[in-house]
Amino acid sequence: MLTRFFLMGLDRKAGLVLTVLALLAVLVPVMTLVVPEGSPWHLSIFSVSLLGKYLCFALLALALDLVWGYVGILSLGHAAFFALGGYAMGMYLMRQIGPRGVYGNPILPDFMVFLNWKELPWYWLGFDHFAFAALMVLVVPGVLAFAFGWFAFRSRVTGVYLSIITQALTFALLLAFFRNDMGFGGNNGLTDFKEILGYDIQAPGTRVGLFLATVAALALSYMIASGIIASKLGKVLVAIRDTESRVRFLGYDTESYKLFAWTLSACMAGVAGALYVPQVGIINPSEFAPASSIEAVIWVAVGGRGTLAGAILGAVLVNFGKSYFTGALPELWLFALGGLFVLVTLFLPKGLLGLWAQLTARLPSGKGKGAPNGKTADQKGM
């Protein structure tokens, strides 16, 4: 049954995405660890972590696209789930520092020591175990999303109202995590990690390992998401996006559908955050900033909303652009990026992948999925 579910989502596009990911999973380790450093085919560890970071963002974008592209819930607070997953992982990593912190306190992280904390707060307990932390990576964002969604969907909060309260949620979390009193390191966040599962976090092997884990998580999430989309559940979700009330009159309890997709999406975002933190080496409240969530929305839009592959493509391309431009055009890059966003909206109304869809639609087997001109789907959306 499970295989059938996964196979269902496997169309040509999915095949392409998975092939690319598989290629990455093979090529990247070889090019970094096997190919000698002088060779033009060598990939530096720096690039591996960078790629890993892009893929984490891609996973976040995928999660967002699931709810926005297919259910019409425009979350302007998805980075909150990402950050919570990241914090859960960060807490584990902090605990792994052990007595190697500057104050040499075996239990308390440095920031607690210098703020005179005497003992570990209760919510830090258990995070010295990887399994517990890994569970929390799913549970914390999942439970928050479930609770939030349960109330919001039941109250029939939709459209911009939903978007804005998701933004309020992440903004409130931002302010809360900024507070040193919260016990998460305030603005400085969690950083200076040493090892993960006993491996030196900066060792090339570990970095490649983390990268592979990210590829695997992204591939799995992609398969889950496209499986859902291809199922009848997916059709119900799209119908909800378009005309929710009509779906209700057909007897579907739309709230539980939305809650399902929403919670699943939050968990995916949490996983993305958890993989992100060890690769970039820091988690701090700015991940909760509303702008981070908006950026994630932008990645999806650039890639093509409602096309899972587009979300991935958009996240990788925009972030690659950001990395590249901030180095190459440090004083002009905002023009480049801003201009890119404007041009994409004007000339690629369905995102980069819309271009692909347009091209393939001409081919005889194109079944013409998606709205005729993007109009109907968007009018009600958000």
Binding site: R4, S231, K232, V236, R248, F249, D253, G368
Partner: protein
């Protein structure tokens, strides 16, 4: 009359919007298998009555019972639909980004929980049923078309098809033949007559030839309550009905 034997039982239902009474102490009963035509002036409250039955609008007062026991005013839309009450809207409302086929598949009677739909695989029976409905609605050639690209009348047909696919106990049909040619009107009337018997149907229409073709009991609503009830001929002869509705 006791509520128990009825399929639908409305008693003293009132709805007002900002002081305007759209339904005024409306009472109406439907027996299982019955088909009823409802006519009445524009703004009489016909659509509002359907809204109240299907949970779209909450009544200010009054009782609405389904199958003599279920209090519909306590339920939400999906719950009501799952009891077996289906509806066609006055303005055709279909899932525009879905194909005609998918619209029907979504409407098709089947378990409605998320897990059910996640694991749903279309079977031979379901396929056959959809084909059948496509034939009835003459949308077969357009099965792969997106519903959003259908013309007005085609959407009307698609929505009727969706209602059939749902296979509800009670069908609420709001102006099914608006925008249809005379021939299609006749065909629709036949279709509804076929359905009646096994199902109960409430039809709202302004097309008198259509109502005549149905040949069922007619209820005339005006200003939110029942003005007259009886055969079409008897209500057409009613002077009040002529004054407010039929005209000269």
């Amino acid at each position: 009359m006791s509520a128990e034997d009825t399929l639908l039982y409305l008693d003293g239902v009132s709805v007002s919007f900002d002081g305007f009474r759209a339904l005024n102490n409306l009472s109406l009963t439907m027996m299982p298998g019955e088909m009823r035509a409802i006519i009445g002036p524009n703004g009489a409250g016909k659509t509002t009555m359907m809204d109240v039955i299907t949970g779209k609008t909450r009544p200010d007062h009054g009782t609405i019972l389904f199958e003599g026991e279920t209090d519909l005013t306590k339920l939400r839309e999906a719950g009501i639909a799952n009891l077996g009450i289906g509806r066609k809207f006055q303005r055709p409302t279909v899932f525009e980004p879905h194909t005609v086929w998918d619209n029907l598949e979504l409407a098709l009677k089947a378990p409605r929980r998320p897990l059910n739909t996640l694991t749903y695989a279309i079977g031979r029976d379901d396929r056959a049923r959809i084909e059948e409905i496509l034939d009835i609605t003459r949308l077969s050639p357009k099965r792969e078309r997106l519903a959003g690209s259908l013309s007005h009348g085609e959407k009307q047909w698609l929505e009727i098809g969706m209602l059939l696919a749902q296979d509800p106990k009670l069908l609420l049909v709001d102006e099914p033949v608006a925008g249809m040619t005379d021939a299609e009107t006749e065909q629709t009337a036949r279709l509804l007559c076929d359905i009646a018997g096994k199902h109960s149907v409430i039809v709202v229409e302004h097309d008198m030839s259509f109502v005549r073709a149905l040949g069922v009991k007619v209820t005339v609503l005006a200003e939110g309550s029942v003005l007259a009830e009886g055969s079409l001929d008897s209500v057409s002869a009613n002077q009040q009905v002529i004054d407010v509705y039929l005209g000269r």
